[in-house]
Structures are given as structure tokens and as C-alpha cells.
Amino acid sequence: MSGPMRRIETDLLVVGGGPAGLEAARAAAEAGIAVDLVDAGFRPGGQYWMQDPTGAAPLSVQGEEGAAAIAKSQASGVAFHAGAEVFAAFPDRRVLANTADGPIEFVPRAIIVATGAHDRAMPFPGWTLPGVMTPGAGQRLAKLGGASAGERVVLAGSGPFLLAVAETLVKLGKPPVALIEARHTDLAIIAHLARHPGRWREAARLLVAARAIPERRSGWIVTEAIGDERVTAIRIAPVDRSGRIDRDRSETIGGIDALLVGWGFRPMIELTALLRCRHEHDPALGGWHCITDRASGRTSVEGVYAAGEVTGIAGAVPARLSGRLAGLSAAADLGADTAGDESERASLGEQLARARAFSDGLGRLYAPPADLATLAQDDTIVCRCEEITRAEIASAFAAGTDAVAGAKIWTRAGMGRCQGRICGAAIADIAAAETGITPREAGFNPPRIPLRPVPLSAVLEATRDGQE
């Protein structure tokens, strides 16, 4: 672990090996640019193209598609660094990643950030109980661990990703016992789908999987997870079309051993934030996301590009298209001869606009209900790391705090190891409920180095020089 850090100088560093990063890296490499790609995963592919770590056959069509994309990227000459977690970045574009063999310092001429997203979680009573997980965790347990999250799993929250997880569990022979979708989406989704025939096959596949779930409800929300050492039951209540929860009609579902609950995704902006790119807040895009020029993937910082979910939640199709666009424009900006790519880039831009129209529509249809921030009660833990309750956070705002960063100083919420990645947005929503300021005005916690735990020696070496 100790000793001098490896240093790699390269034309282009791509961070993230999902659909956006793989496409970006391949496009640039094929244009003749030297490309290094770092990915934190066990194998490249990201969350969407997740590959079985033992080399077993993919469990899903996405896995097969991903295996092909990875092979193409590899054939194009991209240098892969798998299992490498980025823990620092500096405005001079140096990026530090930790690997099993110690840290690596990358010194690239340009960077494409394709760090993807993580599940959007919202605190509610019982959400810290073992067995309560995000849908993404359930998906990873299945695809990486080869096992279901439980024998009797409930899927809940909102959004089409719940159906993707259902499909995986059905393939494992462990169909969920219930699917609790908060939105009333049936007719609206059919109307939306009707306008996008390119997505019919995928939708049909997911609906077939959903049919294997014995209890399916829409317009219901999980209000509480119940159990001593792990979840054994949940309370659910109807939620109307305006997002109001009717607790008088609550019901209990017992005899379960896992609850996967999530509300879509949040862009993973810590790296673009460290690199000082401009960000904007839009609930339909998952909250805070990195602003890019859609035609080129350029961020507000010269030499830094972004693609995929970090630029606003939209799914895998836009991620691939925006990745390829960013790879081509980065290659051109780095001096590759890409004159012949003009017409391709124009056509990619049109496809991207169409794909985003589909996902933006879905994002609106599955937007979390208005009452979501009221699920957490006074004694509900909001910050999982520091065990800070809603009442403690509310008192900080009552005392005059007006930002997520201020609540952190007052209460330690967001100061723990996750750096507020899980609770930060929930705190902004609670601020909005308590004070009337908007989640946008409440802001987010700026990321700190190291983003992920690393040996102390690596941090010391990394921050000794070069930081402004």
C-alpha cells in the first residue's frame, strides 16, 4: 500500500464504466486518442450492464448487451482500470483512484465524468432495519451475489426500475410477494408508451415479469417497516393522485424478510462538484445534476466533459448516446481528426433528444408523491451515519439554519462517512417542509476529499502538493 504512487499521463481519462463511460471511451479511442478508463465495480459494466463477477453467464439481456459493449471498448484499445475507486480530483484535472494495489494518480489532458447514479432513498420509520434496502441493492445482490435479498421480498416506491428488479428476482425463481407502486400510472403510462414504439418490447418484457407478482398495487405507499433485529412486516397506506397519504386506511403486510424501496435515482455528482463544474437542480432529473452542452457533453469547465446519469437521470439509452457524443467531441477538442464525424454527431444529437423526451416523460409520471418528506416522524433517523433524527434536523431549521450545509454544522447530519450522499436530499426536502424554502435553495453538501476511504498515506501524498 505504501511507496510512491503510480502516475499515469494520458490524453483522456474516463471515470465510470457503465453505458455512458464505455461508449465515450470507445469513441475517443477509435478516433486515435489515448484513453484510460477507471471503474469502481468488480468488473466494468456499471449498474445497468452489471457483469457476474465469477464469469457466469449474464442473468439478463442487459448483461449480454453489456458484455458486447465491454468487448468492443477493450478491442478499441482503451486501458481499463477495474476495481479503482476515485477518491480525489483537483481543478488541475489530476484524479486519484484507489485500487487493491494502492493508489494511482492520473494526469489527463481531458476528463469525461460518467459516474452514473445511486438510488434515491427517503427516510421513513423503520428504514434502518436490516432487510430494508434500496431496489438497487436488491438488484446487485441478485446479479453480483447470485441470491435474492430474501425469501419473501416486497418491492416498493416508484418507477420502472422496480419492474426491472422484479424481472431479475423472477429469473432467480424468487418472485417478489408484492409490488407497491406509489403512483397511479396505469393509463398515463400507456399513453406515454404509445408515443414511443421503440420502447414497446422492453415494456412488454417488464410487464410479463410483473405478472408473476401475486399482489400488485398502485397508489399505495409504505409508511413503516416493522421488526426487531430485521424487517418482518410493513405498514402501507393509500396515496391519492395529489400525493396525500390516507393513514386511516392503513394495512399491514406481514411475514416478509426483505423490503426493497426506492424513488428513482440521484446523479452521482461528487466528482463534477470537486472539479467545480456548474450544477443545477431539477426534481424530474433526480435533483442536482451536472450541466452540459447536450451536443458536445462539455461542462462549464474546460477539458471536463460529462455524460449519462450524472447530467440528469434519463436511463441507459440516453447514457449511451451522450457517452458517444462526449467521446467524439473530447477527441476532436484534443486534436483528433474527426471531420467525418459531423453528420454522425448531428444524428446522435437528434436520437438523444428523442430518448430524453421519453425518459423525461417517465420521470414526471413516476415523480415521488408530494407527501414523501412527511413519512419521517420526529424520532425517525434521517442521517444514518450519525444517527440524527428528523426532530434534531427540524430544530436546526427552526433556529434559523437555511441550508443543508448549515444543518450539518448544527446537527452533524451529513458529516458521517457517506458525506450526506443518502440523507442530503432528504434534509433539503425536510427544510422545504419546515421553512418553505425550496430544496434547490437548501443546496447540497459539497464533497470532501477523500470521497471514499483510502489509506491515510495516500491522502497525505495526494494533498501534499498540487492543491490550490
Partner: protein, 84 residues
């Protein structure tokens, strides 16, 4: 497909598939309870499953604060859970 290896989990020998996430194994072996928290002594298990939430912390080969969900299983690794 992959090699079965043995790891040491709180002093007991457990067979597991090399390369898979340690968190998935612990989720099964420990009935979802991976640790207890320092402040309240509350039970915690996997939550995000992808290295973001830091709820799955265990000690591996003496090193503290290792996220089980993003740690691949290796032959002979020594895993200790933090219980209150």
C-alpha cells in the same frame, strides 16, 4: 464456474464463491444483521449495496471500516463483525 473458498467469519469457517461481494454472503450468513451502531446499538445491514451508504461496515484482516458490499471474497480472508 468459480472457485469455492473458505473464509473466517467471526471465528467460524464459511465456504463462499470467490469474487462475489462479501456483503451478499454476510447478508445470508448473518440473517441480514451486519453490525450494530455505535450510538444507539441499533442493528444495521446492507442498504445501498453499492458502496455509497457505509452501513455494511465490517473488519477485514484487521482493517476497520471495510464496506462489505464492495469487497470481493478472497480465500482465507478474516472477517469480524462489530456487535454491541
Amino acid at each position: 464456474m468459480s472457485a469455492l473458498v473458505t473464509i473466517d467469519l467471526d471465528g467460524r469457517a464459511v465456504e463462499a464463491e470467490a469474487g462475489r461481494p462479501l456483503g451478499a454472503l454476510l447478508h445470508r450468513e448473518l440473517n441480514a444483521v451486519l453490525r450494530h451502531t455505535a450510538k444507539d446499538g441499533a442493528p444495521r445491514g446492507l442498504f445501498c449495496g453499492m458502496g455509497v451508504c457505509f452501513d455494511c461496515l465490517v473488519r477485514v484482516d484487521g482493517r476497520e471500516g471495510v464496506r462489505a458490499c464492495v469487497t470481493p471474497i478472497r480465500a482465507g480472508m478474516r472477517v469480524e463483525t462489530v456487535r454491541s
